[in-house]
Structures are given as C-alpha cells and as structure tokens.
C-alpha cells in the first residue's frame, strides 16, 4: 500500500479523517483542560494562603 492510497481511504478520506481528527481533538482537549485546571487551582490556593498570612502578621 502506498501513502497516496492510505490517505485516499478508498474515496472515504473526508469521512474517515474527519472522524479521526475530531477524536484526536477531543482526546487531547480532555488531557489539556485538567492539566491547566490543576496548575490554576494550585496557584490560586497559594495566592490566597499568602494573602491570609500577610493579613495576620
């Protein structure tokens, strides 16, 4: 099988590659979002803790 044939997908290239593209997007998104959320949360908690300490001293 050559590369052209592979990308052509027997004439169904649009349907097959759109499906795989959407799947890739959804799977990546669901990894990136929690990664960013965790960083954000830790930063927020650190900021609030810092402020609380400043106010008590």
């Amino acid at each position: 099988m050559n590369l052209n044939e592979f990308f052509h997908m027997g004439g169904y290239a649009f349907y097959v590659w759109t499906s795989y593209g959407i799947a890739l997007f959804v799977l990546l998104l669901n990894v990136i979002l929690p990664l960013r959320q965790r960083k954000q949360r830790l930063a927020d908690i650190a900021r609030i803790a810092k402020r609380a300490r400043r106010n008590t001293t």
Binding site: M1, F6, M9, G10, G11, Y12, Y15, V16, T18, S19, Y20, I22, A23, V26, L27, L29, N30, V31, P34, L35, Q37, R38, R41, L42, A43, I45, A46, A49, K50
Partner: protein, 246 residues
C-alpha cells in the same frame, strides 16, 4: 491490613499522591495501545467488502460508544457508594467521570453521524439506538449542570448520584435497542452470545482501541479527580503546603 489499605486509599491526601504516580504509566500504556490499534486498524486490516474503507471509523466509534455506557455505570456506581457509605472519594470519582463520559458520548454520536452519511445516506435518523444515545448525552449534561448549580459540593454530589442512578434505566435500553426495535443501526457483531461475526483482522484493532480508551479514561479520570480533591480540600494544611511549594 486490607482495611488499612482501603482506609488510606480513601484519604484524599494519599489518593492525590498515588494517582499522581499512576497517571504517567496509564498514559504511556494508552499511547502504546493506541499506536498498535491504529497500525492494525488503518494499515493492516483490509477494506470491508461492503463498506470499503469507511468502516475504519468503527475503531473510534465503537470504543467511544462502549465507553459512553461504561463510564456512566462507573459514575452511577461510584455515586451510589458515595450515597450509601459517605465516601468522599467515591463522590469525587463519580463527578469526575461525568465530563469524560459526556465527551465519549459526543464522540460516539458525531463519528456515528459521519459514518452514517456515506453508508445510510443521512447524518441522523430518529431510530432507537441513536435517540437513546442522545438521551445519554443529555443525562450527562444534566448531571454536570446539577452539580454546578449547587454550591455545597457534598449536597451536590448526593443530588447528582440520585439523578445518575435514575438514568441507569437508559443503559439497557441503549444496549438492546438494536434488538428490541427495528433500527437502521446494525445489530451487535462482538458482544453476543456465540462467536463474534466480525473478522479477526478487524476484531484485533477494535479490541486494542477499546483497551486504549479504557486506559485513557483511567488516567483522565484520575487527573480530573485530583483537581476536584484540590478544590474540596483547599482549606486543609497539606493542600496549602503543596500549593506553596509549587
């Protein structure tokens, strides 16, 4: 000893650190299974004698659809455990599953639609399989919306668990819809009593992708659960220390 183990595991702090160590391994296993699945699915498996190469959408569509139901059962099961034994971690796993489950359902619906266009001549029909899967998406969205609408997270988790448990009735409806009703959607070729009627060359990549999707769910639910633990435990000293050393 076992009691001690479960007690430790159920403590948010231990869960957070153990999950953090598990995630990279599960993610690596997911990548391996996916690469193998794509190799056998897109390169090794021959075109279908009726559907040509369009059937290769199956290697995403079917695992996504299986996961949409599997994740729902985990969500409802963990919700029930949280409801009965008041285990916080079960609530966390339950609600962390909802978003991922909704995305799997979306993926199953959209890839099914894209597969339906060239094979059935239509993007959508209101047949029993498609409609019940769409209802599953709405159930997930309902769970997420309800959880976010209630400020107290423990009350929210209880309300959500009840909604999720009521929605379980939809799962057998989805599974048996192709047998109970005359649907445009095809019947099962893998999950039936006698030998699967799908050819081995296509069954292998399908099962590889199914395992890959399970692994994906495992590490992503742990990632989400860790965020949820941080949110719920934000006033505890260990979370503050963790945040400040980062």
């Amino acid at each position: 000893m076992f009691n001690n183990f479960f007690h430790k595991m159920a403590s948010p702090k231990y869960f957070y650190s153990i999950a953090g160590r598990l995630i990279p391994w599960l993610a690596a296993a997911f990548v391996l299974f996916t690469l193998a699945g794509l190799y056998y699915g897109l390169i090794k498996a021959p075109p279908d004698y009726q559907q040509g190469d369009s059937y290769r959408i199956m290697f995403i569509h079917v695992p996504a659809a299986w996961m949409s139901m599997f994740v729902y059962m985990v969500m409802a099961g963990a919700g029930a455990i949280g409801l009965i034994w008041h285990i916080k971690l079960a609530e966390v796993i339950s609600i962390s599953s909802a978003t991922i489950g909704a995305w799997f359902t979306f993926l199953a619906l959209i890839t099914g639609s894209i597969w339906g266009k060239p094979m059935w001549g239509t993007w959508w029909v209101w047949d029993a399989r498609l409609t019940s899967e769409l209802i599953l998406l709405f159930l997930y969205l309902g769970v997420i919306a309800l959880y976010n609408a209630i400020d107290d997270k423990r009350t929210a988790a209880r309300a959500v668990a009840i909604l999720a448990l009521v929605g379980v009735v939809n799962i057998p409806i989805i599974h048996y819809s192709v047998e109970w009703w005359n649907t445009l959607h095809q019947g099962p070729t893998v999950t039936k009593m006698d030998k699967p009627s799908i050819d081995t060359s296509m069954l292998i990549p399908l099962l590889l992708m199914a395992v890959a999707f399970k692994l994906y769910y495992a590490f992503v639910v742990l990632m989400r659960a860790r965020c949820e633990v941080l949110e719920r435990e934000r006033h505890t000293s260990w979370v503050r220390e963790l945040a400040e050393t980062k």
